[in-house]
């Protein structure tokens, strides 16, 4: 089992390395280079040369990659192209905001969707199951901003319970912050909870078709007892994997939601960077997002190995 876990972790680190190369290489595949891409058609050869000098583009690509990568793992992403501010200092508070929002949403979404998924599985084919099925399918197939604007119309405009823009400051009290970020958190919750509910339901149901479950039913046990004592311990591994996968999904979903609610997080930072074509900022944000995604997936794999009753026994 230890070997399995080590393999997963090593694989995760290797993927991260490969991804960092890919993120860096994405800026190199262009015919021409960053300087001509940013300055555009109107640039004179002199300004181009000066800009290349400034960005250090006259050195070979692998040297720049190594510098960038070793800087990045030490928390130094260089300075932004547009305003020359240190990227890591402008990114840290935004990163905290993003994690706050994602954590907020996860704290509501995980218990809600797992319990609803189990309830739907227990009542398979009954009204509860059908309602959960329709609502979750609808939440999955509509765009994020549709849900966001719908919630704003209902809870911010008509009921006036929450603000429609989530402006947060560093010196805000915790309760105030929870109130201001409620709507984006609910939107994110709806998005990931729908996925989690469906996947939880289907993993419980796939366990329910196993022979030992049928045996338990034939012994005359109630459906609830079979689900909680026989099915759930075995369904735990896939459910944990589902949760981690969806937390990874949450990190991406956050980009659009942050823009809707004008929430100062990394997603907005990245979108701003793309609009201004500020490559160092975009690369830094991309690396952070990719790292979070890969780390969560690796944790999911490791947890999946840990809780699987069949893999727990030493061989």
């Amino acid at each position: 089992m230890l070997r399995l876990i080590t393999t997963r972790v090593v694989l995760g680190i290797l993927t991260l390395l490969a991804v960092s190369v890919l993120i860096f290489a994405a800026t190199e595949i262009l015919p021409g280079d960053v300087a001509s891409a940013v300055l555009g058609q109107g640039a004179t050869p002199e300004t181009l040369a000066a800009f290349r000098e400034e960005l250090g583009l006259n050195r070979p690509a692998y040297v720049r990659y190594l510098e960038w990568f070793f800087g990045a793992i030490q928390g130094d992403f260089g300075v932004a192209m547009t305003n020359k501010r240190d990227i890591i200092t402008s990114m840290t508070p935004r990163l905290e905001n993003t994690f706050f929002l994602a954590g907020y949403a996860a704290l509501i979404a995980v218990p809600l969707s797992v319990s609803l998924g189990i309830i739907a599985a227990i009542n398979e084919g009954k009204a509860v199951d059908k309602v959960a099925n329709v609502i979750s399918l609808a939440a999955i197939s509509v765009p994020e901003f549709f849900i966001a604007y719908l919630l704003i119309i209902i809870f911010a405009v008509n009921l006036d319970w929450f603000p429609s823009l989530s402006t947060v400051f560093a010196d805000m009290t915790f309760a105030k912050k929870l109130h201001v970020t409620a709507l984006p958190a609910f939107t994110l919750t709806l998005l990931v909870a729908a996925h989690m509910l469906r996947m939880t339901r289907s993993s419980v149901l796939s366990i329910m078709s196993q022979p030992y479950i049928e045996m338990a039913f034939l012994k005359g046990l109630s459906r609830t007892r079979v689900v909680f004592h026989h099915a759930l311990p075995n369904a735990a591994a896939p459910i944990i994997a589902v949760i981690a996968l969806n937390l990874a999904y949450l990190i991406v979903g956050v980009v659009v939601i942050e823009v809707v609610f004008v929430y100062p997080g990394v997603g907005q930072f990245m979108v701003d960077g793309v609009t201004k074509r500020d490559l160092p900022v975009v690369q830094a944000c991309g690396l952070v997002f990719a790292a979070a995604f890969i780390i969560l997936n690796t944790i999911a794999d490791v947890l999946g190995v840990l809780v699987n009753p069949r893999l727990r026994k030493p061989r």
Partner: protein, 277 residues
């Protein structure tokens, strides 16, 4: 009425109706729309009246006309993207299946790495480099999305490559391209068709999402994601302007999903040979 020899159920009919009417609207936009695409007809965010059914947008253009013209751009771009992504993904997938272990490993590992980054993040990085024009947008999303198609095409083709008729074709001395096109592709198509619908939904939402972020289809073209963005501020005043284009996107995706569900249910029947793939 039967379509392709199968009787659609109620939800399939609803899906087909939505998809067909949206496509008709997109094709005949200039004849259907009551006003022009860029025509300012009233003041900002007028409420809905008999004259302007859905009200007007942030610079006084008729919302309904913009929606009708937007169908062209949004559906068209998503469709082109999906077709391109299928061409790339299927070719690469079939090549990986029959081209020998080295090509297979190289392609599969590259796809693994690409899939380990969220697509949106990847697309943002590339768009920041190339800037956003419609061709860039289509190529970027198609290349990123083709990784998913590659996975499926490779898996399906792997099951076909080991069958006797492929072996026979190889022994006959047929070329790689001929085997891909004449022996494997026709047999791999049924499971790929429903995947096409799903990928279309995904690309459609993806294009709309990017346009919403201001990085997709650029003004003055009307497109649904961009329209949500332009009218986003109206929502704080309680004006439902951004909800209309967002709802159009939602209805379209639900419609395509209903059709895909129906196609999947045909394939899953015992008579459908492609069920397991």
């Amino acid at each position: 009425m039967r379509i392709m020899g199968h009787q659609p159920n109620l939800s399939a009919w609803i899906g087909l109706a939505i998809v067909t009417s949206f496509i008709v609207i997109a094709l005949f936009a200039p004849w259907i729309a009551p006003y022009g695409e860029a025509e300012s007809v009233s003041e900002t965010w007028a409420s809905s009246t008999w004259q302007y059914w859905l009200g007007t947008d942030n610079i006084g253009r008729d919302m309904l006309s913009r929606l009708i013209y937007g169908a062209r751009m949004t559906i068209g771009v998503a469709l082109l993207t999906t077709i391109l992504s299928f061409i790339i993904g299927t070719c690469a997938g079939l090549l990986a299946a029959i081209g020998g272990p080295i090509i297979d490993q190289a392609l599969s590992r590259l796809v693994d790495v690409m899939l380990s980054i969220p697509l949106l993040v990847f697309a943002l990085i590339i768009l920041s480099m190339f800037g956003s024009s419609i061709p860039t947008l289509i190529i970027t999303i198609a290349v990123l999305d083709s990784t998913r198609v590659f996975r499926l095409a490779r898996a399906v083709a792997m099951n076909i490559v080991v069958l006797e008729f492929v072996e026979a074709a190889k022994l006959r001395g047929e070329g790689l391209w001929w085997i891909m096109r004449r022996e494997i592709l026709p047999n791999a198509l049924p499971p790929m068709i429903s995947e096409f619908g799903l990928r279309f939904c995904f690309n459609f939402l993806f294009v709309a999402g990017l346009s919403f972020l201001g990085l997709g289809i650029q003004p003055p073209f009307a497109d649904w994601g961009g329209m949500v963005r332009e009218n986003g501020r109206a929502i704080s005043f309680g004006i439902p302007a951004p909800l209309w284009p967002a709802m159009a996107i939602a209805i379209m995706t639900v419609g395509v999903n209903l059709v895909v569900d129906w196609i999947l249910s045909i394939n899953a029947r015992p008579s459908g040979a492609s069920a397991e793939m």
